[in-house]
């Protein structure tokens, strides 16, 4: 909210500069957005009177003005403005003056514009006449009358006086962020109340007395409230209204608050709304048939045209203001087209009402229309403000000679709002804040914020003013003490709690995986948890596969992020594809992240959330076995040693001849923990990648369940080992896993290790065959093996290989 420091000073005796004002207000709880100087950058602009206007001899669109700027000599200025006249009082930027700008029709330039003397089409011009915009006013707040052309000043001002002094343009405009619990601060008096408490000074309320005529409001207007969505409806009537421009002092305040002055009646209602935070509405009584106001909810299907000329569809959620026959306004949101203030309006009804905040919120949402008034009502307004605010309007009407105020008001206020007293304990306040302050300090804080305090000793019974509807429980009052005590004055201590830090095994294992993968050269990626459902199509997942059991968002930002990811592979492919298209030659990447599967048991319950690990790589020196090696090492670090890679030909994501399901062998069972392979050429095409890509996706939850990371030391061998190398000639399509299985089955415990060191196809190997070479290491743990010991086992192995796999020994 924009706050003019000058305006705040009307209600408080604060004598500090802007910086100190802002700093201390921030520390007492008013958060600062920005602080700017109003119309800053005006230097050497004075008030002048146009004495004479002559045509420019050379240009039809220019005129030559002679200006009286309070000196003996007139100043000659050439201008193209067409709203000026002889006798007009205008801002004159003299030779070597500065204005904030921007110049008419030009873009805003940092640091403003310097005005120098020059010649326009051969005629000397010693300066410039200024528009409001050129003096730094935002176009959206410039009064309509001044919007096009030179600013014509209607106030009594001294010729030659500096314009900033003459019009009171020196001011600081502070934009405070008002938190939703403090709607009372959305007003000048509210901010002045905070300032008074912060600077320990008094709050002076504005005058709202008025003389009134003998005629009674009741004779002009009757009000009936039919819905409890209206908490209070009060109205006053003003007659003999003369619609005109507001005085400059009033316009100026609205401009500084970011509002455009319109006419005296509208301006006064806006002014009082800014002062008190109470929205007010002015009706022309000619628009109110039967001199009667009825407040009631609309009927479904009813339509109404608001003063912005939009026809709106109503419902029973929307509270309306009716006259004897028809709707005249949407309560708390916007008036109707036919009852607004016109230039010939003579009798005005001032509505000062309170509506239920949730009702306004609902209505405003339903109509998809928010206004300054509805925004305020939504946040909650003290119904007790209605009367004061309406009286203040009447006071200003009299002060500005805008009309005659009728006697009294019509006021329907069935349930007077009072605030409940709350017990606040002195020791509790100190205990929560960690301080030791006296009761007196606390009660002073409460009283400075217009609360009433009773009780004695440890108990303070505090009744907040009705504007402070946020003060409900003891802690709310503790905060009031804290912010006035100053958060910066609280002690800095550490909790004495006796806790031991730790983390779950699950998280620990994820950290191990991350460290392991980074040390193997993989970069970690993080991708969105919500994805496009089309990602699953792009990686060729079957129609009825579980990967399509999406958790769907009702209100996604777009199709791109409309379902929760079920696996990580599509995101990995996106990332690899993005890097590929950016000409990054080699990528090894991984993601450890949550995946989500629809809850089939309880559709309204939470979905299954499971972590996955996804690895992806491409590059000239990368193949299936690079990824397999990394995966094996990763799983080993995660406590899974015994693994099988089982050929898988049916999963559409991968090349049918280059894909394996990964199965872990635990003591009790074989568990599938993931899948890996070379991405299918069709999928590669979908992602526009022209290089072979290898991906592995592991089910982390299963890994976590079966992980066994216990390290049991085994003795180093005491006796020597014997190695035998063999080369086997086998069928080309025989999986080497079969050979290893056969060797292990046929051996005894003296076979210590088995390592494949060569696979060869080609010369010297018959077509359809391959040669596979192994090194077998034998060792006995309790003795040195003799050749005979080894031969017995080794022969057995060779026999088994021959009989089971038709493998023959090849000379090495």
């Amino acid at each position: 909210m924009l706050v003019s420091l000058e305006w705040i000073k009307d209600y408080t005796d604060i004598n500090v500069n802007t910086t100190e004002f802002c700093d201390r207000m921030v520390m007492s709880g008013s958060n600062l957005e920005t602080c700017t100087e109003f119309c800053s950058g005006i230097v050497g602009v004075v008030v002048g009177k146009i004495e004479k206007i002559e045509k420019h001899p050379e240009a039809d669109k220019l005129v030559i003005c002679q200006l009286n700027v309070g000196k003996d000599d007139l100043v000659q200025i050439v201008t193209g403005a067409d709203n000026i006249f002889e006798g007009a009082i205008v801002p004159v930027a003299l030779q070597n003056s500065r204005i904030p700008g921007p110049l008419h029709g030009a873009p805003k330039s940092e640091g403003g514009v310097k005005i120098t003397k020059g010649k326009l089409r051969g005629v000397v011009s010693n300066g410039m006449l200024c528009s409001a915009g050129e003096l730094g006013l935002d176009d959206k707040v410039v009064p309509i009358a001044h919007r096009d052309g030179i600013w014509i000043i209607e106030e009594e001002v001294k010729l030659g006086e500096d314009i900033t002094t003459a019009l009171g343009l020196n001011d600081s405009i502070i934009d405070f962020e008002i938190t939703p619990n403090r709607p009372d601060c959305l007003s000048m008096i509210g901010m002045a109340r905070e300032a008074a408490a912060t600077f320990n000074t008094k709050l002076n309320y504005p005058k709202n007395d008025c003389k009134e005529s003998d005629e009674k409001t009741q004779d002009y207007l009757e009000v009936e409230v039919k819905s409890d969505l209206c908490l209070r409806y009060s109205a006053r009537v003003i007659k003999d209204v003369k619609i005109k421009q507001s005085p400059w002092w009033l316009q100026k305040r609205l401009i500084k608050a970011g509002m455009r002055p319109i006419n005296n009646i509208v301006d006064i209602t806006n002014f009082v709304m800014m002062e008190y935070g109470q929205p007010l509405h002015a009706f022309d009584i000619r628009g109110i048939e039967g001199n009667k106001i009825v407040v009631d909810v609309a009927k479904k299907g009813e339509k109404f045209t608001t003063l912005d000329e939009v026809e709106r569809n109503l419902s029973e959620n929307i509270l309306m203001i009716y006259d004897a026959k028809k709707a005249v306004a949407i309560a708390g949101i916007m008036g109707g087209l036919d009852s607004g203030i016109m230039n010939d309006t003579t009798t005005v009804v001032i509505e000062s009402a309170t509506f239920n905040k949730d009702g306004i919120r609902k209505a405003s949402k339903e109509l998809a229309h928010r206004t300054e008034a509805s925004g305020r009502y939504e946040k909650g307004i003290d119904p007790n403000l209605c009367e004061e605010a309406a009286d203040r309007v009447c006071h200003l009407v009299e002060l500005t000679e805008s009309g005659t105020v009728l006697k009294g008001s019509v006021d329907v206020y069935p349930n007077k709002y009072v605030s409940a007293p709350v017990e606040v304990r002195v020791d509790r306040v100190n205990k929560v804040l960690g301080i030791e302050v006296e009761r007196k300090f606390m009660t002073d804080v409460f009283e400075s914020l217009e609360m009433k305090v009773s009780g004695d000793g440890n108990i303070m019974t505090v009744t907040p003013p009705t504007i402070r509807q946020d003060l409900i429980i003891e802690e709310d009052f503790i905060e009031e003490v804290a912010r006035m005590y100053g958060y910066e004055n609280l002690p800095t201590t550490l909790p004495k709690s006796n806790t031991v830090s730790g983390e779950s095994e699950h998280r620990k294992l994820r950290n191990i995986a991350r460290e392991a993968l980074c040390s193997m050269g993989f970069n970690e990626i993080q991708t969105y948890s919500f994805v496009s459902p089309r990602g699953i199509d792009k990686i060729n997942i079957d129609e009825d596969s579980w990967e399509r059991a999406f958790v769907e968002l009702i209100n996604p930002l777009g199709d791109e992020n409309s379902v929760m990811r079920t696996i990580l592979t599509p995101n990995m492919m996106e990332v690899l594809s993005r890097n590929y298209s950016r000409k990054i030659g080699k990528v090894s990447a991984f993601e450890i992240g949550n995946t989500f599967i629809k809850n089939f048991i309880d559709p309204n319950g939470l979905p299954d959330e499971n972590y996955s690990i996804c690895l992806g790589m491409y590059g000239d020196d990368v193949d299936f076995f690079s990824l397999k090696g990394a995966t094996k090492e990763l799983l080993s670090l995660l406590g899974i040693e015994k693994l099988s890679f089982i050929s898988e030909k049916e999963y559409g994501v991968y090349h049918p001849g280059r894909c394996a399901r990964i199965v872990a062998h635990t003591k009790d069972e074989d568990v599938e923990i993931g899948i890996m392979g070379e991405i299918h050429p069709d999928v590669m095409e979908n992602y526009g990648i022209g290089q072979r890509v290898y991906v592995c996706e592991l089910m982390f939850e299963t890994i976590n369940e079966i992980s066994d990371r216990e390290i049991v030391f085994s003795q180093l061998p005491k006796y020597p080992s014997t190695s035998r190398d063999i080369a086997l000639l086998v069928e080309e399509n025989l999986e080497v896993a079969k050979i290893e299985e056969t060797i292990r089955e046929a051996s005894t415990e003296i076979l210590e290790s088995l390592k494949m060191f060569d696979i060869y196809k080609g010369k010297q190997v018959a077509d359809g065959k391959k040669s596979v070479a192994y090194s077998l290491t034998y060792r006995h743990k309790d003795k040195t093996l003799t050749d005979a010991d080894v031969d017995k086992v080794h022969e057995n192995i060779l026999k088994a290989l021959e009989s089971k796999l038709n493998a023959t020994l090849r000379d090495m």
């Binding site: 520390m27 007492s28 709880g29 958060n31 938190t179 939703p180 949730d358 919120r361 205990k431 929560v432 804040l433 960690g434 802690e475 503790i478 905060e479 804290a482 912010r483 958060y487 910066e488 609280l490 002690p491 800095t492 201590t493 550490l494 909790p495 004495k496 709690s497 806790t499 031991v500 830090s501 730790g502 983390e503 779950s504 998280r507 980074c518 040390s519 193997m520 050269g521 970069n523 970690e524 990626i525 993080q526 969105y528 948890s529 919500f530 968002l553 009702i554 209100n555 890097n579 950016r582 990054i584 990447a589 991984f590 949550n594 989500f596 559709p603 319950g605 939470l606 979905p607 959330e609």
Partner: protein
């Protein structure tokens, strides 16, 4: 004979002097000392001599043999040394050639930042815990004292799965879940993903990370809140940074505050990073609202607590000078590579 011996000796000396290869020295050895060598034949021929003569000549021949052997050994060493020298010279490499690539991977900057923060809080006794990304309205809003009509509940702000299930908008639901499960003393830290209906731009992302912290115990004060977060700030941003706590409002804390740190780029003088103010807003915090504690079954007379929430992306961006949040989720390797 004596002359013959001397001749042999000088010949051997001369020939050894010329030898440059081990094979040559071996040839020389064979020629003079071998079974059919010149010296050997002299020794063999001594049998015909008188004992006196034989004794004298034997001594001389043995001396000559020893001398030749010594010369041979010396020569062999020299030749070996030369050969080694040559070999080493031939093996000289250009040490300025590039090394073979052995690249470690990098963690994502979000991970790096979370790890750095969790380490600091763990050293103060906090334990890391986590909650689901898809969360109930109850834990995300109701249990955190958010009014039934709180604007954050709107479909314009929060992603809904159904009327009771949403993508969590904050990590704070972990507070509610923990209070329900555990008894004080509680000191937890909950990092994780959050989601809000923000259209992506340089400073907004519909998915982002937060770290939630919560302490509940007897005698926890707002001074403790200041102390813990002040220490965090100093460890995270440097011991010279100052902290500023400003009153603020959150539904789940009362009193509430926001913490600023003095700008760690300019030291508080005012720069582009702190937008000239000298201060950077880093987190929201406060004393846990009694309604939140009560829903979690905590006796609010006995126990008090504080909680805080830190935006991870914001901290990472400030710390590393990243100017566009979208870079975090593009995962360009040239971006990730920078966070070693």
């Amino acid at each position: 004979m004596q002359e013959k011996l001397e001749k042999i000796l000088s010949e051997a000396k001369e020939q050894l002097g010329k030898a440059t290869q081990l094979s040559e020295t071996e040839e020389i050895r064979v020629k003079f000392l071998g079974k059919k060598g010149e010296l050997t034949s002299i020794l063999r021929s001594m049998g015909k001599l008188e004992p006196d003569e034989r004794k004298k000549l034997g001594l001389a021949a043995n001396n000559a043999r020893n001398e030749i052997e010594a010369m041979l050994e010396e020569k062999k060493d020299t030749v070996k040394g030369k050969a080694k020298e040559l070999k080493l010279k031939a093996e000289t490499i250009d040490v300025t050639e590039p090394g073979k690539e052995l690249k470690l991977g990098s963690k994502h900057p979000i991970t790096v930042t979370i790890e750095e923060m969790t380490n600091i809080f763990e050293s103060m006794g906090f334990s890391v815990t986590e909650g689901p990304e898809v969360e109930t309205v109850f834990y995300n809003f109701d249990a955190l004292n958010a009014a039934p009509n709180h604007p954050a509940r709107d479909m314009t702000d929060t992603f809904y799965i159904n009327k009771d299930v949403i993508l969590r908008t904050q990590t704070s639901p972990v507070q509610a879940r923990t209070l329900e499960k555990e008894k004080p003393p509680i000191m937890i830290l909950a990092p994780g993903r959050c989601f809000r209906c923000d259209t992506p731009d340089a400073t907004h992302s519909p998915m982002f990370h937060q770290i939630e912290g919560m302490v509940v115990d007897e005698g926890i004060t707002m001074g403790d809140l200041r102390g813990v977060l002040d220490r965090f700030a100093k460890e995270m941003f440097g011991s010279e940074v100052k902290t500023k706590f400003r009153p603020h409002h959150f539904p789940f804390t009362e009193p509430s505050a926001e913490m600023d740190v003095s700008c760690f780029k300019c030291g508080g003088k005012g720069c582009r990073v702190c937008k000239g103010s000298g201060w950077i807003e880093v987190l929201g915090c406060g004393m846990i609202h009694p309604n939140v504690l009560k829903i979690g079954g905590i006796d609010t007379e006995k126990y008090t607590g504080f909680a805080f929430g830190i935006g991870v992306e914001r901290i990472a961006m400030l710390k590393y000078g990243i100017d566009d949040i979208r870079l975090m989720y593009e995962n360009d390797m040239r971006f990730i590579d920078q966070f070693k």
